[in-house]
């Protein structure tokens, strides 16, 4: 276990770098050294304006999703928590969709992601409110069901009311997350928000550790729970909102990563934040490579693939925990 602890972060970083490299090469046309050496301008454009932003975005989004999952599980003291399963991502998507529907999105490039963030923050606040103190797994998952249904219903309303087919396609984009055809602009939009969100959460790491002893335990250790809640609400809203705004809903990354890492690193919440984030980046990159190498006419959406992998994982997890939670 000690050996694993020492080597895990370097290995994860190396894996992420490797996958990022792979992600740059893979696509409709696989980049080879010859093509690169030929100084063909088209190759350069594909490389610089499509492949590299896509890989970088994969890293940033995966980082955000991995960290948000670890933070959420730590705060709610619940291994089933994840922005995807608890409806935070869906609410962020709803926020983004609303901004398109009402034309706010066109006003300023920041408008749409900020609406996504607002959706995420609201969802977190609602979750804290609904789930209340020391929520059981059942209350929590049910709160997630409520939030998800609300968001999906809201998005459906927007879809059927949407005036143009263009808006409808845009809206559907948020339901099925993907990294396809994202540009450097998306990257520059999401990265600062995610950086701030990650910092806020990182500042709460001791609070999250203290919460291992429950809310009363944490308070007796001098933690101001209200402050922690606010910082997490905002931090999670930024991470999830910004990711969803540029890539749509990509679920399960935050659920899966802390679980894979806990046996290797131990369960101390602060020790999982960064490794989960790096692992999330690797997972998203791997998924994004997978959707491009799978045979077929058009590539599958990354969000769909993650759900295909993640849902059975979630099921297995719930099954293994059922004695403890129900």
């Amino acid at each position: 276990m000690i050996v694993a602890r020492r080597w895990l972060m370097p290995s994860l970083l190396a894996l992420t770098a490797l996958l990022a490299f792979g992600s740059v090469l893979v696509g409709k046309v696989t980049l080879t050294w010859d093509m690169w050496a030929s100084h063909d301008p088209t190759t350069r454009i594909v490389f610089m304006e499509l492949r590299v932003p896509r890989a970088l975005l994969g890293i940033v989004i995966g980082f955000a999703l991995g960290m948000s999952g670890a933070a959420m599980q730590a705060y709610l003291r619940n291994p089933l928590a994840d922005p995807g399963t608890l409806g935070v991502s869906a609410m962020a998507a709803f926020g983004a969709v609303l901004s398109i529907f009402f034309g706010v999105a066109g006003l300023h490039p920041w408008a749409l992601p900020l609406c996504g963030v607002a959706g995420g923050v609201l969802a977190m606040a609602a979750l804290f409110l609904l789930a209340g103190r020391a929520a059981s797994v059942l209350t929590l998952v049910l709160s997630g069901v409520i939030l998800s249904s609300l968001a999906v219903a809201g998005i459906s309303v927007m879809l059927s009311l949407s005036p143009s087919p263009w808006a409808a396609t845009e809206i559907i984009r948020w339901m099925l997350g993907a990294l396809t055809d994202r540009s450097l602009d998306d990257l520059t939009l999401a990265t600062p928000m995610i950086a701030i969100g990650a910092t806020l959460i990182f500042l709460c790491r001791e609070d999250l550790n203290a919460l291992t002893l429950g809310e009363v335990g944490a308070q007796s250790l001098g933690i101001n729970i209200k402050r922690t809640q606010w910082m997490l609400c905002l931090g999670m809203g930024l991470l999830v909102g910004a990711s969803v705004a540029v890539t749509g809903i990509i679920g399960f990354v935050g659920l899966v990563m802390p679980h894979l890492l806990r046996p290797l690193l131990g369960a101390k919440p602060s020790a999982l934040l960064l490794p989960s984030a790096i692992g999330g980046a690797a997972l998203v990159l791997a998924g994004d490579i997978l959707v491009r190498v799978l045979p077929g006419g058009s590539e599958l959406q990354l969000g769909v693939v993650m759900s295909l992998i993640g849902a059975p994982f979630f099921f297995a997890l719930l099954y293994s925990l059922r004695r403890r939670v129900l």
Binding site: N209, L213, V216, G217, Q219, G222, A267, K268
Partner: protein
């Protein structure tokens, strides 16, 4: 001085008063036991003294300063609190759990000081050999000892523990009491809520008896646990016995009092 001074404290949940007009001055260097029937307000009093609840009326001072005026961090550095039903959310190892007690000192103490405090706390509770064991896999009594170690690691001038001996076998109960007495002998203050009359008689320097949210007796164990007090508070007939060459006090319960 680090005296805890409670004056005119009242606390209620909704319309129901839990504590009424509590006046209590506790000196460090002693072990004080709070007793009383279920629902008498023992835990609420302890949580108020730990600064975790906001009294409706009255004041609590720590070393002459209003407790609620201290930052939560300063408060936590001076008062370590063990709740009656401690929660452990994650399967962390014993050393990590005991280390959580050092959270109030983050940025204040050096890593070496933290390390020393954790090791010392584990020695005091005879849990050193379990450093790498997973807390959630321990038995109830083992877990209680580890949680007590967490409290020792975070000292602090005061330890307020809500029924810390639940689930401990007689030997470990004895050791846990001894470790708390040692802490008090070294100048720390200890306040415990307990149910065991004999345990209180044997170990406490001072006993405070609560009933219906009021202090009904306060003094040495002999004074506060007088059969007349116990009769009126618990409705039981008791008798003080002294056992063996060590003259260990035992409070025998003969039966329910009908009168």
């Amino acid at each position: 001085m680090n005296t805890i001074k409670v004056s005119q404290l009242s606390f209620s949940r909704g319309p129901r008063p839990i504590l009424t007009d509590i006046d209590l001055t506790l000196q460090p260097g002693r072990l004080t036991a709070i007793l009383g029937p279920n629902g008498a307000g023992k835990s609420t009093l302890l949580a108020n003294m730990a600064g975790l609840l906001k009294p409706n009326r009255g004041h609590i001072e720590l070393g002459g300063l209003e407790l609620r005026a201290l930052s939560s961090r300063e408060r936590a550095q001076r008062i370590a609190y063990l709740p009656q039903f401690p929660e452990i959310a994650w399967p962390i190892d014993v050393e990590t759990l005991v280390g959580l007690g050092r959270i109030p000192f983050a940025g204040v103490a050096t890593e070496r000081e933290d390390c020393r405090a954790v090791l010392h706390a584990m020695e005091m509770t005879a849990t050193s050999s379990w450093a790498r064991r997973i807390v959630t896999e321990l038995s109830g009594g083992e877990r209680a000892r580890v949680l007590l170690a967490r409290v020792f690691a975070g000292t602090s001038q005061w330890i307020l523990a809500d029924e810390p001996f639940t689930g401990l076998d007689p030997a470990h109960q004895f050791e846990a009491v001894e470790s708390l007495r040692r802490f008090a002998a070294e100048g720390g203050g200890v306040v415990l809520t307990v149910h065991d009359l004999s345990l209180a008689a044997r170990t406490a320097d001072r006993v405070v008896v609560l009933n219906d949210g009021r202090i009904v007796a306060d003094g040495t164990p002999e004074e506060a646990l007088d059969p007349a007090v116990l009769r009126s508070v618990y409705g039981v007939e008791t008798e003080w016995l002294v056992a063996g060459v060590r003259r260990t006090p035992v409070i025998a319960i003969h039966g329910r009092h009908f009168g």
